[in-house]
Symmetry: D2
Subunit: 366 residues, 4 copies
């Protein structure tokens, strides 16, 4: 319980450090009989791969996934699915100097406080490369959800001051723009903004939004395992995320009830809602509308301008971070948000299977 | 795993419905030897009790706690602490009509979708009374944290458009104002604002802030069990919370790295920070500074003005909610946020006990 | 995680001490819609009640169960079912002297070693009364299993040297004999044997067997959550049990494979087995045959003859136990074994619901 | 939660099939700062390697472990330790015929019943090769326990009718005899017995005993997480084990209390026991004496003589198993029992860290 597992029934355990031999994940609890190939995983991993654009680190990693167990004849067997990606482009020497001091905004100091020492190379376990396992597992979860018509769409909503225009929403642009913005015009502006950041040896933050469509009403539990509570944890567990919103989020705090309640009405024999301020979740349980969440991501803490800090000897020093760093975390974190949402909803889908006697009667009908 | 348990080592299980016989909680995993009396619990429960002010429901409940197990000679024994509060003022007849329709903004519809039927009386398990068990358990957690010099302070930061002035911060006012605002002037304005809401048969939302002081560096884990991830879940699991922020929260997304990193320096032989944008957590692990979080709470969904909805027969209807309802959830949720934060940090304290060999050597030194 | 919870999805948490205010259990994860009344629980509790026969303690407890939550209109709601039994006949003064020394064969010493002190009254949490919560929860599990045609039958197989004759098996006798033996003749002999034990201030051990019929093939998981592994834990977690067997148990170790394998054949279109040495479980998964297990129970450690021990001051002393003690644990533990088996199989039934895509398709078919 | 994880704080997740690409384990929750090398693991893995003696399968596997994460500069970092062994000697063609029928005594039928299909090659996940991950993880646990002076000694107690003579106990013989018997004379007899079995195309069962020395009093919890309950689960989760005993085990059922209680007395200021019928555990908590347990192992179900069974088409057929099979499971399972015991006790050691306030005060003393 050092905390590298996530999920109750659809349960994953990730492992690996930035500059270790490899990174990976074990997915336990995926139902048997799901069609699954390495290609299904690779498509997701490619979306978080470094070295693809001007605004991402020049570190090049193939991040080629190997499925080591749990899949037979291109279907899941119900046993643990172990997946691994080898690290191939570690430049550990870049990091030898950070062994001795604490980078501001990073986990160097807290790791030392907790464990007494740390694998300092590239941030070790606190590196963004840790998300490799999450994304591989998220791809399996998304594949499962697809069987039930549930789809996820995460994208960059804003970078610094540049916000997308939802009226120009272009789904394809999420994968084709370097910013993962679904609005190509905004993306061009954001790239210019980021070029400025880099010129001034600085970095930027932004917002990621994720929509989940097709979720049946009834997923999530009433108290601690609320679907929104688990989504909040899932997303806040991604390094650099400092706030999470569900539906209208922070905006609800300044509203009246009359302007925040979503009216129900009947449409084609279904209970639907006139608005979706709630973001698809009522009382912790999905209501059948679109689930919508947002993650607020801090600027990359590794900046090249000089900063004040301390070293392990307890001396005040000034440092300038070196190495390969993205000026922004957001674009590569988009698929991580999508993966974490997929994992959370897949788990809720499985947890709900035993929620009522009627479900079990369908399964164990003899 | 219907989700009524919270925590990994310091683990609680709550139970009870708004109009059932009683509500309660079992706290398992509290260390033996902690001084604890019913009075320690009652002080917390009194802070969430209904029927105390003009802006809370007229339902009167003594909410007198009974400790049924796990405490002997005023100390915890290490075995489960079972605590219970009897319901005494149920007016179930008030709710008989909602048995048949779905209140907007409530969990009526989603409960029916999930379970096939529901205890509709007073919202059943989705009522705010569900938090009774959380608060009782949170009082135990807070008592444990006090042994280590860790203190929690939650308060109302804003109600509708009224925001407290931090320069006027008065800790005592949290307990003495009906709004739980630490700024008596703001509180008076907020009361006037709420009186307006009630006159127009409407309700309001607001923001709760919680500060945790004295947390040692090293609590929380690096990946899924990040301290901020667990705080986010803890707080988002409280009904009506729609957004959670850690430290500067949403604001970080529009910043540059140079303006968001907290510089380290040495003070009295300790590593400290010049600023605390991070809210006391780096890489999911406490850094020794104050932990700061905020919960954004939606307006009470039960409003007395007419609303559109559907009934169980699938007919579109118009309803006006009756019963006893607060015009705002925030003041009574303040202690719930504090309780959930206390539970999360107590659990992290225990989880961290086995984080390094050095800790175990201190315990098992023979 | 002080270990008072059991089960993964059908999850229970017990609480309470022998001489505290009450004992109880919270059942979380029971599917909604299950018909359930207090009477269903009481029938089970009555089977473990003290004070019923000459061979059980004269302590009289009504053990009247109160269902405090989770049941509405005589059906489970899917939310936690909290059940409680008040202690009414504590004679705490009987135990005041054991506060100061360690009874041989009891947990007095180990509790002090672990927690630093203990609720010594009647053994506190280590008393047989702790099983009250297990039995109440087991009654719910058994009620759930009954919906699927799964039935459990536990009984006393032997007491000291007296073993039942399976050819005389009389199911009704389990409930009508004071020994819970399904063989009335053996029961009479066992009573005489126990009377001798009591006359010589001594106690006796015995064996409990439990058969589970109607379990569909497919329950249990292949590695750590094997159905037999969980049954072993469930049964070994009952105080005084020192060995557990599945199917032919210890006998298999001296067999050849040819004499231990169960041949499969077809019968009425079903795969069945010629023999059942395996006790209904292959590779940790139920095979559709009867599940059979045995628990070996030690003699009551509280005996009235003098024994050597030490006190808290570290002095060697001699003691003669006083108080109210059964000369044998077995008969009252029979229903506890049945309850633990029911809980384990109910949990396996729920865990298996998500084992294959085909199951989920039946539930989420739209 | 397909059940491939074990442990509460010291938590492992195993993965891999007999004829897949690799097998492995992720150990999460191991304290930071523990000295650990691949050699520490390899020593354990070598003890379960196939192809070493006449009485084990001719399948040759290097079973060379690769540590992929969680260890830096030969010490554990507190992050997940991922370990892997490549499969190199799969002869999958040997198994193609069993794709279509159910081997008696194996999990073929139950896997199909549960998952709808299976990786039939070499038994897939139900193969004895699944224990590779357990043993690698057990080596880490044993390394941790060694820091606290806790040592484990597992060995073969009997094979068929041949039982070791405890008076001839020779610890070195465990590693040097092909039977893992600590009595070389008995080992020679057992080898002759097994040669007979092989000649008659049959197999044999036996008993494994495991002693754990140096366990401090206080490990284990009072109710469901009893140390003996967890040991029972741990050992029963090993394929082919059908009974588990703690201390005197089944023998206690026919004893009187006066002959089964272990008297306490003082020795060098310590509370010790005159006898150890209890096997070092009272009320689920270690008492400071040697912990002793036994596993009863069934004969290898794969035998070369003809057997009756059914195929997937539901036809009665007769089969003779082919392939590479040990005539006995016991010797190679000895290290697996030791590993599972080590994992269980390491977990109990960590769980106990938070059992009393006094422990935490030692850690968080500021």
């Amino acid at each position: 319980m050092a905390g590298s597992s996530y999920g109750n029934i659809f349960q994953i355990t990730t492992w690996g450090e930035s500059h270790g031999a490899a990174l990976g994940v074990v997915v336990d609890g995926c139902p048997a009989g799901l069609p699954l190939t390495a290609e299904d995983i690779q498509i997701y991993l490619n979306r978080r791969k470094p070295g693809q654009t001007r605004i991402s680190t020049p570190r090049k990693e193939a991040d080629q996934v190997e499925i080591l167990s749990g899949v037979f004849a291109d279907r899941t067997t119900g046993t643990p699915i172990s997946m691994m990606v080898r690290n191939t482009s570690q430049h550990s020497s870049d990091y030898s100097e950070i062994a001795n001091y604490y980078r501001p905004g990073h986990a160097d100091y807290t790791f030392d406080a907790k464990y007494g020492f740390r694998d300092y190379r590239g941030g070790g376990r606190s590196s963004g490369r840790e998300t490799t396992g999450r994304v591989a597992a998220g791809a399996v979860a998304a594949r499962l959800l697809a069987e039930f018509g549930i789809t996820l769409t995460a994208y960059t909503k804003s970078i610094g001051p540049i916000v997308i225009d939802m009226d120009k929403f272009d789904r394809d642009a999420i994968l084709s723009t370097p910013t993962c913005m679904p609005d190509p015009d905004a993306s061009i502006q954001a790239e210019a903004f980021l070029a400025d950041c880099m010129r001034s040896y600085d970095s930027a933050g932004g917002v990621i939004e994720c929509a989940v469509d097709g979720v049946p009403a009834g997923l999530g539990d009433p108290v601690f395992e609320k679907l929104d509570a688990n989504l909040a944890k899932a997303v806040m567990s991604i390094g650099a995320v400092k706030a999470v919103e569900i539906g209208d989020g922070t905006a609800v705090a300044s509203r009246h009830g009359s302007g925040n309640n979503d009216a129900f009405y009947m449409q084609d024999g279904q209970v639907v809602k006139r608005t979706n301020h709630a973001g698809g979740i009522l009382g912790g349980i999905s209501d059948g509308s679109q689930i919508l969440l947002r993650a607020y991501v801090k600027p990359t803490p590794s900046i090249f301008s000089p900063q004040e800090t301390v070293n392990k000897q307890g001396e005040n020093i000034e440092v300038s971070i070196k190495g390969r760093h993205d000026p922004i975390i957001v674009p590569r974190a988009v698929v991580v948000v999508e993966a974490m949402a997929a994992l959370t909803i897949a788990d809720a889908l499985l947890m709900n299977a035993g929620a009522k006697l009627e479900h079990l009667k369908k399964i164990y009908d003899r």
